[in-house]
């Protein structure tokens, strides 16, 4: 009888464990029980048109939410990239950001770090970048429109809208567009548009765009590399609320004691397309559709000199970083450790186009030629060799 009482007593913690585990996994289980949402049938064209209309007409509803970005590109691990402030840390692992969107000219993006925070606040023509770790407020000149990455072959955009826009722009005529199974993203029923490259040279298996069934706002973008079951890159909402955010999110005044700087939008966001129309060392894009590759000249000190990787340094680069502002030093450190890690994993290659070192990840291949060029794209090495061949 006493043993029986003991067994009953030990039943209590077992129930407690079950309850806690139940609460912990309740969300996914409920979603699984509910099954896939069923939205009215729509063709891919209709969906894309609806989505395009929504963001072209600027009638995106005000909203706020949490975005989770996950990159598993197969990069060498980057141990020195603690904190959420450096843009380079987004290349590996999972990161969270919060976004408040009050209209086309009012938005705030927040990257939380441990006891630090970076904020991008856009309010009309006022664009501020706040970095609490460096205690620096940077006023970005050029307005929000100039900050849009244009024709970049990389998934460089951060919000789902921008990423979806990029993917659609990149698609061109070399893409098969289908509608996949409806998905649930951030608790909302969403259509899934699957973009499959038909170019043989692409490393991308497909790009899946989850578009909200009600508002036609892209809620998630997943990029699958060939031969992998998990997305190599994913950015999507974890939670989303469609209500106007509090106005104080869009006002930023540099706090007393903070350094205030001014900066122009980095010029690499606007890349000329084509070749030889510009000076030889300007970055340019070669190829069409998914096989597009970026060709750029490598600063001489790449791999040895942290300053050389961030600044647009041409000619002789000295290893002096003392003149650099502190706010950029973190980025430079991130870039340097990224470059070091990448160069360690590079394999020497050569061919008719010359010789160089090749860095392969699941999604992106980078070729550093010995004559100082960088060729990169989401393509197989052969496409890069071809691009490197046409000088």
């Amino acid at each position: 009888m006493r043993n029986g009482a003991r067994a009953v007593k030990w039943g209590v913690p077992i129930v407690a464990v079950a309850v806690v585990a139940g609460v912990a996994v309740a969300g996914p289980v409920i979603a699984a029980v509910q099954g896939d949402p069923s939205l009215p049938e729509r063709t891919a064209q209709e969906l894309l048109a609806d989505a395009a209309r929504t963001w072209q007409s600027g009638t995106v509803r005000p909203m706020s939410g949490t975005i989770v970005e996950t990159a598993s590109l197969g990069l060498p691990s980057l141990p020195n990239m603690g904190g959420g402030a450096s843009p380079f840390s987004l290349l590996a692992g999972s990161h969270q950001a919060k976004v408040w969107y009050g209209g086309p000219e009012r938005m705030r993006l927040m990257l939380p770090g441990e006891m630090s925070e970076s904020d991008l606040v856009v309010n009309g023509d006022q664009v501020w970048w706040w970095d609490s770790a460096a205690n620096t407020a940077t006023r970005v000149k050029g307005g929000p429109a100039a900050g849009r990455p244009d024709a970049s072959p990389f998934p460089s955009a951060i919000t789902p809208q921008q990423a979806a826009e990029e993917a659609l722009k990149a698609a061109g005529g070399n893409t098969r567009i289908t509608v996949g199974k409806d998905a649930t993203v951030a608790g909302r029923a969403a259509y899934e548009v699957v973009l499959t490259p038909t170019d043989g040279g692409s490393l991308i298996k497909d790009v899946r765009l989850a578009i909200d069934g009600e508002t036609f706002i892209p809620l998630r973008v997943q990029v699958y590399a060939k031969g992998t079951a998990e997305p190599a890159f994913e950015v999507g909402f974890d939670t989303v609320t469609f209500s106007p955010p509090a106005p104080e999110n869009f006002t930023f005044t540099p706090p007393p004691g903070a350094k205030v700087e001014e900066a122009a939008v980095p010029s690499f966001t606007r890349l000329p397309h084509g070749k030889d129309e510009h000076e030889a060392d300007a970055p340019r894009v070669v190829g069409e559709g998914w096989d597009r590759v970026l060709v750029a000249s490598v600063p001489k000190g790449f791999g040895q000199d942290p300053a050389g990787t961030t600044g647009k340094t041409t000619g002789e680069t000295t290893a002096e970083t003392t003149g650099k502002e502190k706010s950029w030093r973190d980025s430079a450190d991130g870039a340097a450790s990224l470059a070091d890690g990448l160069l360690k994993s590079a394999t020497p290659v050569s061919g008719e186009w010359g010789s160089g070192r090749l860095i392969r990840t699941k999604l992106v291949t980078v070729l550093l030629t010995d004559d100082g060029r960088l060729v990169a794209g989401a393509v197989t090495p052969e496409v890069l060799y071809a691009a490197a061949g046409q000088k």
Binding site: W10, M115, S132, N135, A137
Partner: protein, 286 residues
């Protein structure tokens, strides 16, 4: 000492709550009078002052960055800086010593069986012990905050507080946010205290329970730092302690702190029920 507590037998009825309060008072008096606990609280009070003095000494050299720079600009920020420094190890150490000792200490001194002769019941004794741990967690975190606040106001200027988001809030709101941070940190420590209390019921050697808790803290700090094991992070207690920095954001990051509190509650429920099952069913021989 034990007989003094055992003498306060709680009656059924309206006097029960008062009796429980009296028992808790006696228990807390024991905890806060014990010399080693006082020494530990002393260390907790001194560390924020040391941080403040160190910041004050280097403040002129222009090497100030991040949260440290803000401490030099506003004394209230020292409270948050102190939690940032002390939450990973120093505060957990103090809580482990008190909670790990709670049951195993009585067992090792041979006083546990006398305690159990009182008709209060083992479950209630365990609840009393845990209430005492909660009291200590709150006291330790408050002590850190008050010591940091006093040191900060003496060493540095005060005024409106700049949050991590770059927003500036009045001093009073800064104080309020510091209060929320104290409560959150206490909840995090209470979860660890429940774990330590569980270990305390498993052994008759208090040092074993204390070191098991501390080892667990250190191991999970290491696990949190390994990027390849990031999938484990949401389940580890230590990865949620620093979420108190949510009070320094605008708007306050209640989402992450709320999840943190749920994780703490999960730890408390599981550890508490295991401790109860173990303590009420084991044979007490010493």
């Amino acid at each position: 000492m034990a007989t003094e507590r055992a003498g306060a037998v709680p009656d059924r009825g309206p006097g029960r709550l008062r009796a429980a309060a009296r028992l808790l008072g006696a228990e807390a008096a024991l905890t806060f009078r014990r010399p080693r606990h006082l020494a530990m609280l002393g260390v907790l009070a001194v560390v924020p002052i040391l941080i403040g003095v160190a910041v004050r000494l280097v403040a002129g050299d222009g090497v100030t960055e991040s949260i440290v720079a803000q401490v030099a600009g506003n004394g209230l920020v020292l409270t948050f800086a102190a939690f940032f420094v002390m939450l990973p190890l120093i505060l957990p150490l103090a809580v482990s010593v008190v909670a790990g000792d709670a049951v195993a200490g009585e067992a090792s001194q041979g006083t546990l069986r006398y305690l159990l002769t009182a008709p209060a019941g083992r479950g209630r004794l365990l609840a009393l012990k845990y209430a005492n741990v909660l009291l200590f967690c709150l006291a330790a975190c408050t002590l850190v905050a008050v010591s940091a606040l006093v040191a900060g106001l003496v060493l540095f200027p005060s005024g409106p507080v700049t949050l991590l988001s770059g927003t500036t809030v009045p001093f009073a709101e800064g104080l309020l946010r510091a209060g929320v941070a104290v409560l959150y940190a206490s909840a995090g420590m209470a979860a660890l205290g429940a774990l330590a209390l569980l270990f305390s019921t498993l052994t008759e050697n208090p040092i074993g329970a204390i070191s098991a808790t501390v080892v667990l803290v250190v191991v999970s700090e290491v696990l949190v730092a390994i990027p390849q094991l990031s999938a484990l992070r949401p389940f580890l207690l230590t990865s949620w302690w620093n979420a108190f920095d949510g009070v320094l954001r605008a708007p306050m990051d209640t989402g992450r702190m709320g999840t943190g509190l749920l994780v703490f509650a999960g730890y408390i429920v599981i550890s508490g029920s295991l401790a109860w099952a173990r303590f009420t069913s084991r044979d007490v021989t010493s």
